[in-house]
């Protein structure tokens, strides 16, 4: 790392770094990765990571209406869940249409088995899932992941970044293990 050079150029205090990060996350449309922030600030990852953690703590400590949270591999500023009623009243919005049971089930299979083909989904669900897959593609919750090199070269599907965002996940490893559901079942 050429940190010496940077320090000579413009040494920033940690509080200044935190403020800039807050501003960047605020303007960003999508969750902002530590790498992107580090590139913009020309600071090293460790510094940025520490600053982000501290900023998150500041939000939490003063019980802000906003929260800084890690989602889809990046950081995002959002409102806290507690205030959704007031926000909806102001925005005059209603919760958006929920996914159908079939679509949710199909999504669950894809999330845990990806990359997965249509016949493999059929095997688990015991029912054709074509229209559920279409819905999920349209909502950009899943993406195609190339063909499987087997008879018929069926298309494979996996979850998208939008999936992580819409389900509030840092990454796929944050999903509970599928084996955990076994205990629930029995």
């Amino acid at each position: 790392m050429d940190s010496e050079e940077i320090e000579e150029k413009q040494p920033r205090s940690i509080s200044e770094i935190i403020s800039i990060i807050e501003a960047l996350v605020f303007v960003a449309d999508e969750p902002l990765t530590v790498k992107t922030i580090a590139d913009v600030l020309e600071e090293d990852r460790e510094t940025v990571e520490a600053a982000v953690e501290q900023l998150k703590q500041e939000y939490d400590e003063r019980e802000s209406g906003l929260q800084l949270r890690e989602i889809a591999g990046g950081w995002q500023i959002s409102t806290r869940t507690e205030f959704h009623e007031e926000i909806r009243k102001f925005l005059k919005t209603r919760p958006s249409a929920k996914l159908s049971l079939a679509a949710l089930e199909t999504l669950a299979v894809i999330a845990y088995k990806q990359p997965v083909t249509v016949p493999e989904i059929l095997e688990i669900r015991g029912v054709q899932s074509a229209s559920a897959i279409k819905t999920l593609l349209e909502k950009r919750l899943i993406v195609t992941k190339g063909h499987k090199e087997t008879v018929g070269r069926p298309m494979q599907y996996g979850t998208s970044k939008d999936f992580l965002i819409q389900f509030g996940l840092k990454d796929l490893s944050e999903l509970p293990s599928i084996e955990d559901f076994e205990d629930l079942v029995q």
């Binding site: 999508e30 926000i87 079942v185």
Partner: protein
């Protein structure tokens, strides 16, 4: 056929699948609640309070067939998958009725004809639970708001347009053509080769071409289809890229 089961929404908290007996002791059904034959089967097993590892196959098969017949009387197009399961159940039932050969009995392990079905049910139930977990997560997420649109991607202008975006543009234009007053003008039919030549010339001259504008120039459905195929062809064969600046925005053909 499957649309019957796919399109209905389902709320895990307020709705529960149910088959209840009414006064005439016939089955009354809230329709479209089961995501598939395995789902129905699981429900029947629970309703009968049966052990999933020791399914009373004759009873469950009867219940299952009753449900299928009822679906028919309600004139519901029955998904083929429900019928496949019915056949599987009957097969298992008949296997269990067969007397075991004495020679088999001597051996230690005789495979239970129900085993494969039990495995599938257990596997399916895990994913059913996972679907409920996803449902809970999305409900929580709906209470969280972020500034601005997450979907637009201003920082990266070169988002590759997908086939869906392409089809969307195409459908938009088709719809527009439908609304316009029709005027019959005799016109020479344009061939794909001519269309391709025309498109190539324009892209190579101007480097860029709005797909929306290009489609708008077409006079009828036939030309539009030809134009659409020409676009697909040119992207495949020439060094031309499809670029979409923002979601649902116009798509630009750009020479690389």
């Amino acid at each position: 056929m499957e649309q019957q089961t796919e399109q209905l929404t389902f709320d895990f908290y307020t709705e529960k699948p149910q088959i209840v007996a009414d006064e005439r002791d016939e089955l009354k059904i809230k329709l479209g609640e089961f995501a598939g034959p395995l789902d129905l089967l699981l429900f029947l097993i629970k309703q009968e309070q049966a052990n999933i590892f020791d399914i009373p196959i004759a009873r469950i098969t009867d219940e299952y067939l009753k449900y299928i017949r009822l679906m028919k009387t309600f004139d519901i197009a029955l998904a083929a998958d429900f019928l496949v399961m019915a056949a599987t159940l009957i097969e298992i039932k008949s296997k269990m009725l067969l007397p075991r050969e004495p020679s088999d009995e001597a051996e230690e392990e005789i495979e239970d004809p129900r085993q494969e079905l039990v495995d599938r049910l257990l596997e399916y139930e895990k994913f059913k639970s996972a679907a409920q977990m996803l449902y809970a997560k999305t409900t929580v997420e709906q209470a969280v708001f972020t500034r601005g649109q997450i979907e637009s991607d201003e920082t990266n202008a070169e988002v590759n347009a997908s086939v869906f975006d392409l089809l969307n543009v195409f459908q938009k234009i088709l719809a527009r053509h439908k609304e316009e007053v029709m005027m019959e003008i005799e016109r020479e039919e344009i061939s794909l080769a001519e269309m391709l030549k025309n498109l190539k010339k324009r892209i190579f001259e101007k480097k860029e071409l709005s797909l929306l504008r290009f489609f708008e120039e077409m006079h009828n459905k036939r030309e539009l289809v030809t134009a659409f195929i020409a676009v697909l062809e040119i992207v495949r064969t020439e060094s031309v890229k499809l670029i979409q600046d923002k979601t649902f925005g116009d798509i630009i053909l750009r020479k690389v």
